[in-house]
Symmetry: C2
Subunit: 398 residues, 2 copies
């Protein structure tokens, strides 16, 4: 990803080490805008939701000035104490920054079921607010503060022109393990200086997340903390976007580019991943069927280990399609791996196994399933399953 | 498992190497009864079903004399040629054994999408029928003939007394990879000399499979070939069981013991498994919720890798419960690991991490989740996920 980041006007991002994680790694971050922001969010569908997710959902669509995030502890399954802690963090930030009550958020990621070490958190909030008030902006620090087992940078910015004004968008995310549609242990933050109505900001985010953060899978699991937050402070000075006009479409296009870039970076950085795989299901009867089929393939251990083993064992694609529960007529299925037609109308073609296995040696792989039953389609991005995944997750605790 | 096997009266089981698998491993087996048998079956729910599954379902509840099974090739996704091949195998066996048309079955397991090497199969059928006509019985050979990546024996017999007659039941199965409820790449064969109506034979099998073969999980996948077949030839000479009386109940109890024994052996022999884990979900609102919760935990990669890593990372149990989609009130959940209460009414108890981690070093583990919302429960059996699983599946092709 680019080193030429531009932070949208009026935003400060930074991070520090508050001692929650070991070895002085950064573990707390702030996003702050002096101008109030519209705030849109999309959250985990896990039925057990962490305290900060409850707080963020409560303030959804209100006007806010920013947020505090910590890694190393998820503040999840922590009962009323956890809720009180999440609110205390925002109260403290609001006092330090001298902004309205209820105008800050708090987010957390890390181990589930342990109370936040509040002494460390309080010091962290104070330090971050001082940094923000000094206009000390460092988005990379913010990114490092949200990382857990991430190994590659996940940050990007983009500039577009709307009505003669330069609009800036910057996004960053953490991912690695537990990534599935519905965004397991994934945090995404996007800030922009565009001027747009709060309703359209939420619509843009919801639509874009469906095609990006909700279309990736590392291991098929959902966490209690997943959140994507989008803030806009209007400082670019464009006339406010209040209908789905061409300016809105331009914004959505740029937003999607950023979200897709971050989502793909999360898959590439999947725990232990050695391959990036695009699964494209076409010709499904309806959207749900296309999703079922693509996500079952993307999450199948046997498919993922076949990719890791660079073995074009296409029978595994077939049974994963059948096991997904989508409507299927086996005499109609087409399967294409890269440019190699493996199956046409349910019959194996005369492709050479050696060619297919040779293709599997690529780092970026493309698998297309055409059910030839309808016109619905779904693209999902996933990675392979390696020894390293098992090692990381057998040994992991923050 | 016991070496003291008793084969039910009138049944012959045997196996041989037909050259389908490498290294002269056994790859074809026969079950034969001179007396006609009632036949009950339960099959995969994968929407793509192998040719032999179609054949077996067509003959379900008819009177048959036995079956031919091969490993090394699943005869799945092989179109009309595959169907013709499955029927040719049964036709050939019926001719060799001089029995009625349509009174034999054929089953297959192995790689998907390749045609059966019929020359080898034909020779195998002839050899097996000659063995059967010579009354040469060797259930262990049959078991070895159905194995793919299995490493431990899976065969058991049992004797019960009904109305003064000795009733014998013998069961064997293959498992290893791809095991999930709905019986992925799993074959089970149970034969008995009991006299029972064909309706009750099917009912007994369907009920027992739900609590045994459909309650196990290795990696959450379903194959196109899974089948459990139960044959009864009535040679024990008991008065026919035609109502759900105490004799029926005794038979079901023995059948369940055999099915559960084989199911657990499949989990213990899960590819790369180092732990056997019993997941017991209690207090669910209804049966479906109990099943959702238990199976999500049993299939979660993060839970399975935590067991492999011997890390009592109980937050992973929590998010798996939440991600399962079952109704849940986080203030009511109890979690018990072995005898250690980890969570009571949604609150972590004061258990010691060292105690919980010490418990995780056991080979047999018990995890209980009480949702405390209703009275439905579900027990599932699963194994951990190890490096070895990835290795086996990255490299596997018959």
């Amino acid at each position: 990803m680019s080193n030429n980041l531009t932070t949208p006007k009026g935003f400060i991002l930074n991070g520090l080490s508050a001692g929650i994680k070991k070895n002085n790694r950064m573990d707390m971050g702030i996003i702050y805008s002096k101008s109030p922001c519209h705030y849109a969010g999309v959250f985990t569908k896990n039925k057990i939701q962490a305290a900060p997710v409850k707080l963020c959902k409560q303030r959804l669509n209100t006007s806010i000035h920013g947020l505090i995030v910590n890694s190393g502890n998820a503040n999840s399954f922590t009962g009323n104490i956890g809720i009180d802690n999440a609110y205390e963090i925002t109260n403290l930030a609001e006092r330090e920054l001298k902004i309205d009550d209820k105008s800050f958020l708090s987010l957390s990621t890390g181990v589930i079921g342990e109370y936040l070490p509040m002494d460390k958190l309080r010091n962290g909030v104070t330090g971050l607010c001082q940094t923000a008030l000094k206009n000390d902006n460092n988005p990379y620090n913010f990114m490092n503060a949200i990382f857990t087992t991430d190994t590659n940078p996940k940050i990007i910015s983009k500039e577009i022109l709307i009505d003669g004004k330069n609009i800036h968008i910057l996004g960053t995310a953490k991912g690695a393990g537990m990534i599935f549609p519905n965004m397991a242990t994934m945090l995404g933050f996007i800030v922009t200086d565009i001027s747009i109505s709060k309703e359209l900001l939420q619509k843009a985010l919801s639509d874009v997340v469906e095609e990006s953060f909700n279309s990736i899978s590392v291991d098929g699991d959902q966490s209690t903390n997943d959140s994507v937050i989008l803030l806009s402070n209007g400082e670019a000075g464009n006339p406010i976007i209040s209908s789905e006009d061409e300016n809105y479409i331009s914004f959505c296009k740029a937003l999607k580019e950023i979200a897709l870039n971050l989502s793909k970076a999360i898959v590439r950085d999947g725990e232990g991943a050695t391959k990036f795989i695009t699964i494209h299901v076409k010709g499904a009867l309806d959207k749900l069927d296309a999703w079922k089929c693509a996500s079952h393939i993307a999450n199948s251990l046997l498919v993922k280990t076949a990719f890791f083993g660079e073995d074009a064992n296409w029978g595994r694609f077939i049974y994963a399609v059948g096991a997904s529960g989508c409507e299927v007529d086996e005499t109609k299925i087409d399967i294409t791996l890269g440019n190699i037609h493996l199956v046409r109308h349910g019959v194996r073609t005369d492709f050479l196994n050696d060619d297919a296995n040779y293709y599997m040696k690529n780092k970026d792989l493309y698998l297309e399933i055409n059910l030839n039953l309808g016109s619905a389609e779904k693209i999902m991005y996933t990675c392979d399953l390696s020894y390293q995944y098992v090692k990381i997750n057998g040994e992991y605790r923050s």
